[in-house]
């Protein structure tokens, strides 16, 4: 016979060790927090907390270093991949990650990230795409969708004047040095789980020295989009994903063999 023994209860989820015990400055519902959390979870699960050096960027995530309980340096706007290169070349056995928003990485820092990827720099970039400049109050970013209203495209992004949004993952995926470039979304539990798996793969790519890795995460900015957080999730799913499809854009042959 089968005996069922009911143990009163067990913790099935708790705050990861790699997050500092303090409240963030992010607005309510901002999925920067989700990205932080899954990165911290993976770093805990892989036992990397004491071997990781983060490179913070400029934008809403400027204070990322306040929230992760490991070593951080703070880069000038857009330069995180260059700074990460400097750290990694001196300390090749440490894990070096950058955490950058779309203004930081896809606008002012496009040169640095393209060349870090082209060199096959063995770093991991976490790229948060929320289709606007959050910290400065919701201006047009290189990722702002055609027609999307922002404080610097008050009538909606006019592609005749401001051009089209940049699909950073697709762009970086053309580079030989890039080993793992994927886009994920943080708008529902299933996609968050897939994003976490990608974070894990990216860090495994770095741990094994396979080259440049990047996980783009579609993210919401309820405050600047002028929506409730739950409305913003829906907007992301309906408006952003058609322009920025979730998917694997570059998985080098060596990465394809990884068991994560």
């Amino acid at each position: 016979m089968v005996v069922e023994q009911i143990v009163p209860e067990e913790i099935v989820y708790q705050r990861p060790r790699s997050l500092v015990e303090c409240a963030t400055h992010y607005c309510p519902g901002c999925t920067h927090g989700v990205a932080h959390r899954i990165i911290a979870e993976v770093i805990d699960e892989m036992g990397l907390r004491e071997h990781t050096i983060g490179v913070a960027s400029v934008g809403c995530s400027v204070f990322a270093y306040n929230y992760f309980d490991f070593d951080w340096v703070q880069a000038p706007h857009g330069r995180a991949p260059a700074m990460a290169t400097g750290v990694k070349r001196v300390l090749p056995d440490r894990m070096v990650i950058t955490y950058q928003g779309d203004g930081d990485m896809a606008s002012i820092g496009m040169t640095e990230v393209v060349h870090a990827a082209a060199r096959g720099e063995n770093i991991t970039v976490f790229f948060i795409n929320n289709a606007n400049y959050g910290m400065t109050g919701g201006q047009m970013a290189p990722t702002t969708l055609p027609g999307q209203k922002t404080t610097s495209s008050p009538h909606g992004r006019d592609v005749e004047l401001a051009g089209y949004p940049i699909r950073a993952s697709e762009l970086l995926a053309t580079l030989e040095g890039a080993a793992y470039v994927v886009r994920r979304s943080l708008h529902d539990p299933k996609n968050i789980r897939l994003a976490k798996k990608a974070v894990r793969t990216a860090l495994e790519v770095q741990r094994q020295g396979l080259g440049f890795s990047m996980v783009e995460m579609l993210s919401i900015c309820p405050t600047n989009w002028g929506m409730s957080p739950n409305q913003a999730l829906q907007w992301l799913a309906e408006k952003m994903i058609p322009y920025y499809p979730v998917g694997d854009y570059r998985v080098s042959p060596s990465v394809a063999q990884l068991k994560v």
Binding site: V2, E10, R15, P16, T24, G29, R37, P189
Partner: protein
Amino acid sequence: MPVQGRVVISELYCKGCELCVGACPQEVLRLSTERITSKGYHPAELAGEGCTGCGICAVVCPEAAITVYRQVIRRSTAAVGA
């Protein structure tokens, strides 16, 4: 009988964004109308029976504010007549 669970939502972190409320498959989460956090938010809370400890709320929570507990059922095969 479904597995029983419960969640503890830290008021240090919770900003009342309602993402957990929207994601909860059992619809047992809501924002407290009575409590207010030190930052001035109405925190999320468990309202009533039915939490299974599935952890979806914790997956979507941007603040890592939720600790999830769940009953554990350990199944073992016992020898008959022992």
